[in-house]
């Protein structure tokens, strides 16, 4: 098949949709890292948890309730994790944090298997998003467009909050220099707590949104973890700009790589990551210079 306009439109939309899903995941992780210097490998497991919550809620109360409540549920789990583990691990080195959250992956993975079993669950998108929408002569699934819109909406909202509100200014101050921010009278501990919970909630939202698209399996958190980490390392830790740039780069390289260069597609993204780390060892748009 010769690539024509509809091919490019289709693949661009696919790339955008993947990018937005990754953005929802990576933005929470990157801000948590930027602010708290905390490496949370269990972020992917929280995403899987969001998908499971959504699957259960959707079968009882419908899709929209699930989309609203699943992120809240994951945020509550995040609160418990923060109180029980994360707070105590804040002062340890990155190595200990990587390991504790690696252990947490094992625990959460098996807990989801115990509660929901090994079989894949599926949820159907609501009727209003079930059809296709015609864009430049391409019939594109409405649900995927909804993901793109949601991702862009969240990006816009976060950009506004970070640049225009007081709490946004406090977060930026905390990322820049948390000791100094604390000296200026900002309650940094409370800030950490809020950001961590919102980050977990966004991971849960990503899981809930992804659930109708992919099947819900215990391994989905582990599968998404590496792409998310690649996104934040390419983009640079701690910045919103880095998260969106990294997500778009990953989404487009992965999608177009898979259709244009099928043989090397999967290696391409890792080669890109290695190249970025070589040329700019702290990523493209790090929060700190």
């Amino acid at each position: 098949m010769t690539p024509d306009l509809s091919f490019w439109t289709m693949q661009t939309l696919n790339a955008l949709q993947l990018s937005m899903l990754l953005f929802l995941l990576s933005v929470g992780l990157t801000v948590i890292f930027g602010l708290m210097h905390f490496v949370n490998l269990a972020h992917g497991a929280l995403y899987a948890l969001g998908a499971y919550f959504a699957a259960t809620l959707a079968s009882h109360a419908g899709f929209w309730v699930a989309l609203l409540l699943a992120p809240l549920g994951v945020a509550v789990v995040g609160m418990a994790l923060y109180g029980g583990l994360i707070q105590r691990m804040r002062k340890s080195g990155p190595m200990a944090q990587v390991l504790v959250t690696f252990g947490l992956i094992f625990v959460l993975l098996d807990l989801t298997r115990i509660f929901w079993g090994d079989l894949a669950l599926a949820i159907t998108p609501p009727a209003i998003l079930a059809g296709r929408v015609d864009i430049l002569g391409v019939g594109y699934p409405a649900y995927r467009l909804f993901i793109i819109a949601l991702g862009l909406g969240i990006f816009a909202a976060l950009a506004l909050i970070l640049s225009r509100t007081q709490i946004g200014a406090m977060i930026r101050a905390g990322v820049d220099n948390d000791d100094m921010a604390a000296c200026m009278g900002i309650n940094v501990e409370r800030l950490f707590f809020i950001v961590f919970c919102v980050g977990c909630g966004l991971a849960g939202l990503a899981g809930a949104v992804a659930a109708p698209l992919l099947s819900v399996t215990p391994g989905m958190g582990l599968e998404i973890l590496i792409p998310t980490l690649i996104v934040i390392v390419i983009g640079g830790l701690g910045s919103l700009k880095g998260a969106i740039a990294g997500s778009l780069i990953y989404g487009f390289v992965q999608t177009f790589g898979a259709v244009l260069l099928p043989g090397v597609a999967s290696i391409l993204i890792y080669a890109l990551l290695a190249a970025v780390l070589l040329l700019k060892p702290v990523g493209l748009f790090p929060a700190k210079g």
């Binding site: 990155p94 190595m95 992956i105 115990i114 390392v233 890792y270 990551l273 290695a274 780390l277 702290v282």
Partner: protein, 334 residues
Amino acid sequence: MFRHTPLRYAALIILFSGALFTAFTAGYFGMEILTEILILAILVLALDLVAGFGGMVSLAHGALMGLGAYAFVALATKAGLDPWVAASAAVAITAGTGWVIGAICARSHGIYFIMATLAFGQMGYSYFFEQSFFGGDDGMVGPRRFDLGFIGINLNDSRSFALFCLAILGVIYLVAMAILRSGLGRSLTGVTHNEKRMRALGLNVWRVKADVFGLSGAMAGIAGVLAAQHIMFISPKMLHWTVSGEALVVVILGGLGTLVGPLVGAVAFVVMKHELSHVTTYWHLIVGLVLIAVVMSRANGIFGFIEARFRPKTDRMIQSIQTRDDAKEIAKDA
């Protein structure tokens, strides 16, 4: 510099005699577990060398092991080389690859180093997953084992193979010790403690890191060759990052930077895995909880915990002050 305390000698003697005892008394299944432990022990020794002594937390070691296995199998079956020649070439390949990865990543630190090694590891995983020449995701059937007929040993017997792996592990332990005691090892310790100071002293820092990473890669390659001969089947799964993650868990569980600790960790991990998977399919849950508990306890793994118990009280105080200062130093660098 790496030193052997009486406690470390005692632990080594217990582990060695335990392995010998198991090799001569266990049935077929026990022998398989013993061999699994021994091969894992080689991999975690390699990882402890870079992570424990060089501060280079690598998530590429599973991939280096897998690369060794693939190179060995491809050279022995596709190119028809003698197993010994194929194995030597495979180890040379992993050493070279390790050296290159170490050289490239030498500038990165902390989480960036982890991510960079992860990228290289996953690159290898994806490559072997996609290449139909290497069997793709189906993997490949391994070649025959080494022929030791000239000294009257048949490695197809599982006891002989376990003892062979034990001997290799012993040699690798001695090599790791020699590396740590050499000039290279001392430079590495210096770099881990204070990289800037070592650079100011005129040391070629990236070269030290790359050399050690290459040597460690060679050890991981040996583990890969043995693993390929042990299960006589290889698949891209060997290269997946979770294998590296598990190896790291073993090192931490045993005691980072002690060489003896990771051996203890390998025994504990494999035995725990087999025992728990009899009882419950959710053994990862328990491994995860144990890992969290070990890291949160702030002891340096099982062996580090034992060492801390046996140390005289004054030593303990000095140690705790030192670790506190080290932690501050590391926190400052990060």
